[in-house]
């Protein structure tokens, strides 16, 4: 029987060195797995694999040593515990995320909610090559946003509110880009230095800042055979719907322009960043 390896790969089954053995990649969103799912995964590894799982570099779980003739049985077994296979190959991959504002004191955005939304919107969408989304909640960048084809980083845009300020000076030191100065009881923020980390607001004893939580989106990152840092087009996106329009535009641009097996960065380099920037600005402005 001829084995369709591409079809298996699409379904999350990765060929191993060991003949007729496959490592099954699971669908994980934003790095969260329930205890119930974990129990089912453990049972699957015991029953169908060799009793271990592998945690991938992008927050998925793989169950190695699944036998070719048991693939369908394994899928059904996992489905009983609400566990689905993931994907590999030329399509939208696992949406990764840090814990974000739902759990982490540093988080500026709800990364998990956003990961679920992007997963529903794009997961496994067929494209000329792999396409990775990563979402990190703040400038600490635990999730390494810029190594993804499309990276999203949470941020906070601040505006000083004089009437609540006690001129304590904490924000001046909390700011790591030296964007804030305090003189004669007045705070000045150098906007060209502000990186939207939100530390001034988070450290402020009276929270004397008007804030807007938003997104810093970078494009064209990759961290494999080639290494490149994704770059933003718009410094700070305040609006969730604008973010979605921009994600749609980026993925459509990639779909329309990329050659097979060409990562987003190389499409941008070849087709021209200017053309891409025009497309993103159009999506951003046409709400």
């Amino acid at each position: 029987m001829a084995v369709d390896l591409a079809a298996l790969k699409k379904g999350g089954f990765m060929r191993q060195k060991q003949k007729n053995n496959f490592s099954l990649r699971l669908r994980v969103v934003g790095g969260n797995v329930t205890a119930g799912q974990l129990a089912k995964i453990a049972e699957t590894a015991e029953r169908f694999g060799d009793g271990h799982v592998h945690l991938t570099s992008r927050q998925s779980i793989e169950i190695p040593f699944i036998k070719l003739d048991q693939i369908e049985e394994v899928k059904e077994f996992l489905a009983e515990g609400n566990v689905e296979p993931g994907v590999c190959g030329p399509r939208v991959r696992t949406i990764t995320a840090c814990q974000g504002s739902a759990v982490c004191p540093s988080g500026c955005i709800d990364t998990y909610a956003l990961a679920k939304e992007l997963d529903e919107r794009y997961f496994a969408r067929e494209l000329p090559h792999k396409f990775k989304f990563g979402i990190t909640g703040c400038q600490n960048n635990c999730l390494k946003a810029e190594e993804n084809d499309l990276g999203i980083k949470g941020g906070i845009k601040v505006k000083w509110r004089e009437e609540d300020c006690i001129s304590c000076g904490v924000c001046v030191k909390a700011c790591r880009t030296n964007a804030i100065t305090l003189e004669d009881g007045k705070i000045t923020v150098n906007e060209s230095l502000c990186n939207f980390c939100g530390r001034c607001f988070k450290s402020c004893p009276t929270e004397a800042w008007d804030t807007i939580n938003g997104y810093i989106v970078s494009f064209g990152g990759l961290f494999g055979n080639h290494i490149a840092k994704g770059e933003p087009v718009i410094p700070f996106i305040e609006d969730h719907d604008a973010l979605m329009r921009i994600c749609d535009a980026a993925i459509e641009f990639f779909d329309e322009n990329a050659k097979p097996s060409e990562r987003f960065k190389f499409t941008l380099d070849r087709v021209g960043r200017d053309k891409f920037i025009d497309r993103i600005m159009e999506a951003y402005n046409n709400g």
Partner: protein, 81 residues
């Protein structure tokens, strides 16, 4: 600016993160609600992070002053018993 009288002082320049915050926290635990603690801390990571940690514990930061010698004085009012 509200007036305050310092109840107690603590020097955390002799320890490093995360003990800086722990030492300040222990000093605050010794105090009563409304007491004022003056914390001497180093430039760099302590002055960037300790004020926020104290805020997250629910206490009130009143003032941060530069001692001009690479150290700062953080004035905190204890909130709670």
């Amino acid at each position: 600016m509200a007036e305050y009288t310092i109840t107690e002082t603590v020097d955390i320049t002799d320890v490093v993160c995360p003990v800086t915050f722990v030492k300040a926290k222990v000093a605050l635990e010794e105090l009563e609600d409304g007491d004022i603690l003056s914390i001497r801390l180093n430039d760099g990571e302590p002055v960037q992070n300790v004020p926020r940690s104290i805020k997250e514990e629910g206490h009130k930061v009143l003032k941060l002053t530069d001692n001009g010698d690479g150290t700062y004085e953080l004035i905190v009012r204890k909130v709670g018993d």
